[in-house]
């Protein structure tokens, strides 16, 4: 089966001369949830931006659904991106923020907007403004906004990095539930190994800059996964193994 996202020998060098990525090869199947873990500044977010078509690789080929990322996006392959910050418009209520992607496509669908707001548990806050919400709630709104258009490919750039541990775990569980319901293709960037193992079917480890993929680990746990999975010995051992590889990658 051909991958939805296929990367071949991707290099990225910025105009400043910094080499961010070197020879990245990977293939992500439709409906798969894949995480990339790596030390900070290793280029994993840069890779995500390339997949989103927000930036171009210096060398190599990258295709999304058989086309360049930009073409895929322009020809209505629905792709959504979740940023490290919630990136909400402060002058719009939650509902109007969540409806933004539809609005920019010239559509309105109040039912869908309400549905995704319900899905992330913000039903009582549809009319609230971002300034009135906690960090975790803002991120829920951001997730709802990404899901509004029923994306085929969801790119997540360390979305929970700025949240406290309890909120992070709860949002991990919610994200997992959302994925289990709809099975979009997910590419998740994080430096948190536990989060990556809990969410993903596959974890890729990236080295320090210039980023290269140094390990590709299949996560064997079945879906639906239970929050308690995180305290099983198998989970902990797998996470430790990956942490170890990550530790070597950082040096």
């Amino acid at each position: 089966m051909a991958g939805l996202v296929i990367a071949h020998g991707i290099n990225k060098r910025f105009s400043s001369g910094v080499e961010a990525l070197r020879g990245v090869d990977l293939s992500i199947e439709r409906g798969q949830f894949v995480s990339i873990v790596g030390p900070s500044g290793c280029g994993k977010s840069t890779f995500l931006r390339l997949v989103a078509g927000l930036d171009e690789p210096t060398a190599g080929t990258l295709t999304v659904d058989g086309r360049t990322p930009k073409d895929a996006r322009r020809e209505q392959l629905d792709l959504a991106f979740i940023f490290q910050d919630a990136t909400l418009l402060p002058w719009r209520s939650v509902a109007r923020n969540v409806g933004l992607p539809l609005e920019l496509r010239g559509q309105t669908d109040a039912d869908r907007v309400r549905q995704v707001i319900d899905m992330v548990g913000l039903a009582d806050f549809a009319d609230a403004y971002p300034a009135q919400l906690s960090g975790g709630m803002r991120m829920r709104a951001s997730i709802a906004r990404a899901l509004t258009t029923n994306p085929e490919l969801l790119l997540l750039d360390e979305p929970f990095g700025a949240l406290d541990e309890i909120t992070r775990q709860r949002l991990n569980e919610e994200l997992l539930r959302l994925w289990q319901e709809d099975r979009w293709t997910g590419l998740f960037i994080t430096h948190n190994v536990y989060e990556a193992v809990f969410l993903s079917q596959r974890v890729l480890v990236m080295s320090a800059r210039p980023g290269q993929l140094i390990a590709d680990i299949t996560i064997p746990f079945d879906h639906p996964r239970d929050p308690d999975l995180r305290s099983t010995p198998e989970f902990v051992q797998l996470a430790e193994t990956i942490s170890h590889q990550l530790g070597e990658a950082g040096t």
Binding site: L54, R73, R74, T87, L89, L100, L104, Y129, A131, Q132
Partner: protein, 260 residues
């Protein structure tokens, strides 16, 4: 009750200080036998206000009209200029230095020229007020329109937003706080502009603003009347600044949905 108490605590000290200044002023005038044309006593100023009240009020209304027209024009025109600046770096780079030039040129020096070109009367006054209050609108609005969170720009790009959607759904609403800051600064300047304009553009007829009376009363050494004018200029400036300030606070609260 709590509000009244708070008001008393906040308002009492400055009011007491004001009373103290008035008493000292009056005392000094009496004690040192200062000539009224040098420094009239507060009572003389008050009686000048009383004697000329209708004229002062109509002059204030006229100056306010000039200032508000100048301010409105500068806000509308400044907003348009900023929209163009935000769409083209080349235009911004080539014209922005002249916007700064507009700010640094001493308005008192060019006002006679403006009056010569535009003509006497209200339109000359509005022109001077417009020019002096234009720059803060352009500077602040341009900053607001161009300094956008790069993630938000990416978000719009990812949703294939058009240039117009980026402008009117992201840049313009995002610039609202900056625009309001510009408006507050401009509103104060527009009053100064109107008064300076009236120095030169006087009215020649029965209608004239505070700036004209200031020139006139100082030439005739009617110092008590001059003081009355200064008082009304201050009140006008304070009034417009408070009006625009309150309005912009209200809009800012609506903008982020922050409750009172």
């Amino acid at each position: 009750m709590g509000n009244l108490r708070e008001l008393t605590i906040n308002a009492l000290p400055p009011l007491l200080f004001f009373a103290l200044v008035l008493c000292t002023w009056h005392g000094a005038v009496v004690l040192f036998e200062i000539k009224p044309f040098m420094l009239p006593s507060p009572l003389q100023v008050a009686s000048a206000v009383g004697a000329n009240l209708p004229r002062l009020l109509s002059a204030t209304a006229l100056t306010a009209t000039g200032a508000l027209l100048g301010f409105t024009l500068s806000f509308a025109f400044g907003f348009l200029v900023s929209l163009i600046f935000s769409q083209s770096r080349i235009i911004e780079r080539s014209l922005y230095p002249y916007a700064i030039f507009l700010q640094t040129v001493p308005i008192v020096a060019v006002a006679p020229l403006i009056v010569l070109w535009i003509g006497y009367g209200l339109k000359g006054v509005v022109a001077v007020s417009f020019i002096i209050s234009l720059f803060p609108v352009i500077a602040n609005t341009t900053t607001g329109l161009t300094r956008v969170d790069p993630n938000l720009l990416d978000l719009f790009a990812l949703n294939n937003a058009s240039r117009w959607q980026v402008l009117f759904k992201l840049r313009v609403p995002g610039a609202v706080p900056h625009m309001l800051t510009g408006a507050r600064i401009s509103s104060g300047l527009s009053v100064i502009g109107a008064i300076v304009g009236e120095f030169f553009a006087g009215y020649g007829t029965e209608d004239y603003g505070l700036g004209y009376i200031i020139i006139n009363s100082s030439q005739k050494i009617q110092t008590d009347y001059l003081f009355a004018c200064i008082l009304f200029c201050t009140l006008l400036g304070l009034g417009i600044f408070t009006l625009v300030g309150t309005l912009s606070n209200f809009m800012l609260k609506r903008w982020t949905g922050t409750p009172e």
